[in-house]
Assembly symmetry: C2
């Protein structure tokens, strides 16, 4: 009997990665092509199709495709659409209909943070959990909220925008046009802004004084912190303080068993987890204290986004079985 696999597709602003994944979360083969963000969605899928076919032929003797899961920016699970993504010139397009023109299997789409949440539930740090939140710390801050074993999509499919809860109404300008959103503090770009602010406000010596705003990335801040750079360490402390405060609010809404940190900044491990946990505990309503774990992603670093996308459709298939 052939092994059942699903295809996970992660559409990013630069590259689109895809791979075939079994029910245990093992990615059997994967590949990626440039997204070419200035072209439309139909162009991407016309270029993807032969590449997916080629990859599938390498495993089709032993595997059979059961479904397709897609992670994409501004994706709407209910409608199967991607709606005016900030980094792609797509407008609004029904991606599930598009992919179904090529493959006659069940398909579903959601944003990358929601896909990560389902990935963690099926294959990662949230295995066996029914109530948890995944926070993706990338360029922005995404979140996927799971209650009672189900992803919370909300009334319009856009639930889980914890990155756009407000930390400081008079704070940093956000890409969304408002001020002080959590993601302007707790994200790869947020911690960069924090470093610049700390450099401006102190006379503390720091290796980061030699790096321009545009050149600075979270890996550099992480390396500096590991080397004992006080500005870098303080930047992580401040990021955790802000993140923990807003996570305490989110805990009061859905009472998760754990919050899982995912993405670039989360790779800093205890440098970010420890101050986040401390600040969250300080700000939690007493009934939730010492109950909520903060964990690092349990998905392998390399193809976690493909695994998340695959998990989205595995989760649907499991429900039917």
């Amino acid at each position: 009997m052939k092994k059942e696999v699903t295809l996970g597709i992660d559409i990013g602003g630069t590259n689109t990665a895809f791979g075939f994944v079994d029910i245990n979360g093992k990615c059997i083969v994967d590949y990626s092509i440039p997204t070419l963000a200035n072209n439309n969605a139909a162009d991407l899928f016309a270029r993807l199709n032969p590449e997916i076919d080629k990859l599938y032929r390498t495993i089709s003797d032993s595997c059979i495709l059961k479904g397709i899961g897609i992670g994409a920016p501004n994706a709407n699970y209910y409608r199967g659409t991607v709606e005016n993504p900030p980094n792609l010139r797509w407008g609004t397009v029904n991606v599930v209909e598009l992919i179904r023109q090529y493959y006659d299997v069940p398909a579903a789409i959601t944003n990358d943070a929601n896909a990560s949440a389902i990935g963690e539930m099926l294959f990662g740090a949230a295995k066996g959990m029914k109530h948890f939140i995944v926070i993706t710390l990338g360029t922005g801050l995404g979140s996927g909220v799971v209650a009672d074993g189900k992803l919370v999509y909300g009334s319009d499919g856009f639930a889980g925008e914890i990155g756009h809860t407000v930390y400081d109404p008079n704070g940093r300008l956000c890409g969304c046009g408002r001020k002080g959103c959590l993601e302007t503090y707790a994200s790869a770009t947020g911690i960069r802004r924090t470093v610049m602010e700390l450099l401006a406000n102190s006379n503390q010596d720091s290796a980061l004084r030699n790096v321009s705003f545009n050149d600075l990335d979270s890996k550099m801040i992480y390396s500096a912190a590991l080397a004992g750079d006080k500005i870098a360490i303080e930047a992580f402390q401040f990021t955790g303080k802000v993140l923990g405060l807003k996570l305490a609010d989110a805990v009061a809404v859905t009472s998760p068993e754990a919050i899982i940190l995912f993405g670039g900044l989360a790779l800093a491990g205890n440098l970010i987890i420890e101050p986040t946990k401390r600040s969250m505990e300080e700000n939690l309503f007493h009934v939730f204290r010492n109950k909520v774990k903060i964990l690092q992603s349990g998905l392998p670093e390399g193809n976690s986004a493909v695994l998340g996308a695959s998990a989205l459709i595995w989760n649907e298939i499991i429900k039917i079985k």
Copy 2:
């Protein structure tokens, strides 16, 4: 054939109300007795039992009891317990086991805000909705969050504490020991504090200058606002501003179709709804704007708590049917 009814019991700090309710949310008969907060839970149920029996006998020719739902402070749905309620000298007690000693029907318990949420879903303003939040504006601020047609209890049964999300970390002292919790602003006691602050900070003439802190209640503030009292009107505006800001955060987590205001302060109608709505819209992430309704409770004022408690168990019975 006899009409199926459930018994709803609402345990408050002063009185315990109960009534028999049909599947359409019609309360057929109801009654109440003093809770006697200094006695233990067993005493309350020993006194309740004959009163419930007496009331049931008045309808038992035509009705049959199918289940019992209970709303109580600090109630845990998963465990069937009430756990160290602030206003009752009960400690932690399994109330579902207690009531099942008297009646061999399914029983469930939750806190009053969650019971109200299920009441609104079955009988009130949230009929037919799958994603909504109920905010109870009483002495404190309670909340019940419904996602995908199910109440979110969270990992430990205590989800929905939006009253204890933080508006201002340096703000008003809360009964929970922290500072600036939403309920210290948006509640019957919160608006009283706001009035006192406004009286202190302005020279504006106001009828409320003749009322002591302890004598002031939200009905007086409402009446004053209706009579054009500027301090009272400003107090409602400020309450709505704070509430709307924190509701915008909650919307970003679960994306509800509507937020339903319930309880004493909500009876002020547009005096509280209008500024809340305006502030929420101002603070919403753009994908949620102009989508989330703010509605007044659709449950009848007199026995809404009994209806909510009854709805809790009706909701379980409907699931099995």
